[in-house]
Symmetry: C2
Subunit: 306 residues, 2 copies
């Protein structure tokens, strides 16, 4: 089976690349810690050649399409944002080429931008996962809410195959900052179990009470002081409060497709199920590979065997 | 004019004491950095005698009443919480004596506890300011919402002279933690003006949009990336978003009395006025002195000249 495409997911802290055959199936993969912040001297060309140069030994090798922070201002080339509403075909039509002296073919997928009540929001990387999710669901006619949990969690609304808009929530980062630097972190047990305990659901319920997030956060402290909450349960309770606030405004009964890592997908699945939402799950890795393949096909960079 | 009471506001990071005459007016004052976290070896008796021993040279000196974290588990004596609903007379009836070998008279005011939707909340120090505010407003029949802005901002509801309940919001601490440790802090200008700019009101407006606080926080970053928000305005915009989320659920047109420092009172006055609330202002220092005096009188520790 001959190689057809090098699919690269190059983020802030990780580099992942996949060599795909003419059906979009994975032949080989490379994973490395050299995210864009860890590339020596910002020499992205050298890192790229060292990591996947064997797959593309010359301009005659398979083309490469890259998604993620590699296309940001601090990356290899800056790939401009495409405004919503848009669709995967517009992503394919707005690839930014990476100039290589020897004529190797490399492109970067654009990010997405939108405005919510006039306020700017941006995506870089997840747009490719959305393209993959749409392709896997049957390309057109898809209507769904996608949630990509993470440091900055993305909620993307797709209507009839169009990416209508999205919202980012700073949930993961707020959790980390409160755990590591606030009075709440100092209440947490040194060691917490790997599995998510029932305090998570208690936090989800709390998020629907009156008083707002800033009040619910103080309640974590008061519940520990009063002996109601054990220190080993503080992290789960806090996580439940934060994710609960993220999820509580979702329309009643709305179905959500989660696209992320196994552990975050499971955490959000529990939250959404607790609130009565139907949940589909897609692995973040499957989505980005399917998205890079779909974009490359729509851009005419590869042709699928049929 | 002879001294009648030593009124002490002993918090986490500051010690403030006032020598009061028989009308509750201030004769002398002492201010020091020895909050309870800064008292060498936790020897509170030694610190007390060094700071205000001259006012109370023996058991014949004026009595002392203390409020604040000095009554917490980490303070001099632990003064139990009084449950809401309650009133200033119950504070006076539940003073905790501090045992002193030479028979000097010292008491600590209790904190307050309540439950909101079953979740515990606590106050330690602000209960005395409330007692002062009620006394200044005419002792009984007072109905008001009090806001005590700070690291952990307190919202206290008084109905007919009864302290009905309260809510704490972690606003000040969340602001500090996000400024010092999150991606939002890294977007802020090194130097920001001392005065509050119009980005504060922009943040207040943002707090009423759809999407929730965790989404609005990410918007701070996106607005800077897109060039809409200047780095010098980031801190004011973030402050407006956080205080806006604290204030937005207040009943329409409800009047609020602010009890705090001059700068925080002004910040919250702007927020409340922006949302259409009438605002009264009381200095935090005036409130705590009036409260310690009122509690001491109701406890029969001092008698006012009439």
């Amino acid at each position: 089976m001959s190689a057809a495409l090098i699919a690269v997911d190059w983020g802030t802290t990780n580099f992942r690349a996949y060599l795909l055959d003419r059906n979009g199936s994975i032949l080989e993969r490379v994973s490395d810690r050299r995210g864009i912040l860890n590339v020596a001297d910002g020499d992205f060309a050298a890192a790229y050649l060292e990591l996947v140069g064997d797959w593309q030994v010359s301009a005659d090798g398979p083309p490469a399409v890259m998604a993620g922070m590699i296309g940001s201002r601090n990356g290899w080339v800056e790939a401009p944002y495409v405004d919503c509403p848009t669709d995967p075909a517009a992503l394919a039509g707005n690839l930014t080429p990476v100039p290589m002296a020897d004529g190797r073919a490399l492109w970067v997928v654009p990010g997405l931008a939108c405005r919510n009540d006039g306020v700017y929001d941006v995506i870089r990387g997840e747009e490719t996962q959305i393209a993959g999710a749409i392709a896997r669901a049957g390309a057109t006619g898809v209507s769904a809410v996608y949630c990509m949990p993470g440091t900055h969690c993305k909620w993307v609304r797709v209507c009839d195959g169009t990416i209508a808009g999205f919202r980012t929530a700073m949930t993961g980062e707020v959790f980390s900052v409160l755990r590591d630097h606030s009075i709440l972190g100092r209440l947490m047990a040194e060691e917490t179990g790997a599995s998510l305990g029932p305090a998570f659901e208690k936090g989800l319920d709390r998020a629907r009470d009156a008083g707002g997030l800033l009040h619910h956060l103080f309640g974590v402290r008061a519940e520990v002081l009063s002996g109601v909450l054990a220190d080993a349960a503080v992290a789960d309770y806090l996580s439940g409060i934060l994710i609960g606030h993220e999820v509580r405004d979702l329309g009643a009964g709305e179905a959500v497709t989660l696209v992320g890592s196994e552990s975050l997908n499971e955490r959000y699945r529990r939250a959404l199920t607790h609130y009565g939402h139907a949940v589909d799950i897609l692995s973040g890795e499957d989505a980005v590979v399917a998205g890079l393949w779909a974009v490359a096909r729509q851009a005419g960079i590869v042709e699928e065997d049929v």
